[in-house]
């Protein structure tokens, strides 16, 4: 049972923590690692499962890390100068991160986005002052990628394109921050790192760092089980434009997750762990639990790319009532 009395100590100095910071960019990274206890009751006692909560980044997602790194490196190497517009294609979170960082650093931002991204995302991006150009909802994130390429070809001198799918600084951000944080947060005990594949940046960068520390650590990629899926942010690699920074040979294993399993895991995380996340986190959790069930001892770490508030208006919640009803029926049967 959780000891809630120690949560807010009334005596002694305040706990160490944030902090006074000179800019919102200083709040990127150093996200908490949460132990998953309620969803993992069926795993062996020697196995612990953790999730890194990337929703705590100021832009609300893991994408703050690569976005900051790609822009920093762009400024450093002279590709991003004050006369340029930051342009990229994104289905949402990278756009939010670029818009936020662009606002802080004073660069205009233009984003190519599939027209059917959730209304919350469009509003968040506009709140940071970025401009959106919409691609056909029929073509998914690859459509936005094509639109962005065309725009860049028309006026290449006008833009700086971070190009998250091909920019090695995307995975470098994770090599320099996410990897070391996990190594430290698990007290060097991590045995498996399980994460979704979108650009592949999280897995490649974090995986490379962890393998350097201990080559036995297993790096597991999570992808949708079919080209036609509802797991925003994740790519079905065999049927997609494969990101240039993605190197499948650096993975020990891939796990496919169905959209339905991922959505139901999101419902469970809300109801049982008190963590409301997006669908890509549901997929990552589902796969991490698979891994955890197969081993006797170990520390399985996954990463939740964002929280769920941006998805409340999306199809993610279409099955919620039915799920709740099923749970209620199961409880009645259990007590009968």
């Amino acid at each position: 049972m959780l000891d809630t009395f120690t949560l807010f100590p009334t005596e002694g100095p305040p706990p160490v923590g944030p902090l006074r910071v000179p800019s919102v960019l200083h709040l990127i990274g150093n996200t908490p690692l949460l132990e998953i206890t309620q969803l993992s009751t069926d795993i062996p006692p020697g196995v612990r499962v953790y999730a890194k909560l990337e929703g705590f980044n100021p832009g609300g997602s893991v994408k703050d890390r690569p976005a900051l790194c790609m822009l920093q490196k762009g400024i450093e190497n002279g590709a991003l100068t004050p006369d340029k517009i930051i342009l990229d294609s994104t289905s949402g979170n990278t756009g939010i991160a670029l818009a936020l960082i662009g606002a802080v650093l004073g660069y205009p931002v233009e984003l190519c986005i599939p027209a059917n991204v959730s209304i919350e995302r469009k509003k968040i991006i506009s709140a940071y002052g970025a401009k959106m150009i919409f691609s056909s909802p029929m073509d998914g994130s690859d459509g936005a990628l094509e639109l962005c390429r065309e725009r860049l070809q028309e006026q290449p001198e006008r833009y700086f394109k971070p190009d998250q799918y091909f920019n090695p600084h995307n995975s470098l951000a994770h090599y320099q921050t996410t990897g070391p944080e996990l190594w430290w947060q698990t007290k060097e005990q991590i045995t498996h790192f399980v994460a979704g594949m979108g650009t592949g940046g999280t897995l490649m960068g974090t995986g490379r760092y962890l393998k350097e520390k201990n080559s036995d650590i297993q790096i597991v990629g999570v992808e949708p089980d079919d080209a036609f899926h509802g797991l925003e942010g994740l790519k079905h690699m065999d049927s997609s434009i494969v990101p240039g920074i993605y190197h499948e040979e650096q993975l020990d294993r891939k796990i496919s997750v169905s959209t339905e399993d991922a959505y139901e895991t999101v419902y469970r995380l809300g109801r049982e762990e008190g963590v409301l996340v997006g669908q890509s986190s549901g997929a990552a959790m589902w796969a991490a639990l698979q891994v955890a069930r197969e081993i006797d001892r170990g520390t399985v770490v996954t990463l939740f790319p964002d929280f769920g508030d941006k998805y409340l208006s999306t199809n993610l919640w279409i099955g919620w009532k039915e799920y709740n009803q099923r749970q209620a029926n199961a409880r009645v049967e259990g007590t009968a």
């Binding site: 059917n116 209304i119 029929m138 036609f228 959209t259 339905e260 999306t314 199809n315 993610l316 099955g319």
Partner: protein, 103 residues
Amino acid sequence: MSAQVRIPTPLRRFTGGAEAVSADGATVGALVDSIESNHPGIKERLCDEAGEVRRFVNIFVNGEDIRFINNLDTPVNEGDEVSIVPAIAGGSFCPRLATLGTP
């Protein structure tokens, strides 16, 4: 009844790359069966084991979401335009979806 059905990119491997196919049927469900008979494998992607439209799939008849009409029993008239749109990009055309199934 014959209607044009727009097919999203990830499903065009079943239609030989065609962006739209014509299908026959008086309801959306009948159209789906008609597409399945010409392009086997597609129905399984659109509907679950219970025969319901999968959660992440949106089907529109002349721009109207069938979840707000009569699901697969939604009637189709000659010349109607039907679109299958995955929710992969995280949302929907239709703002009214915001009222569906939220906790």
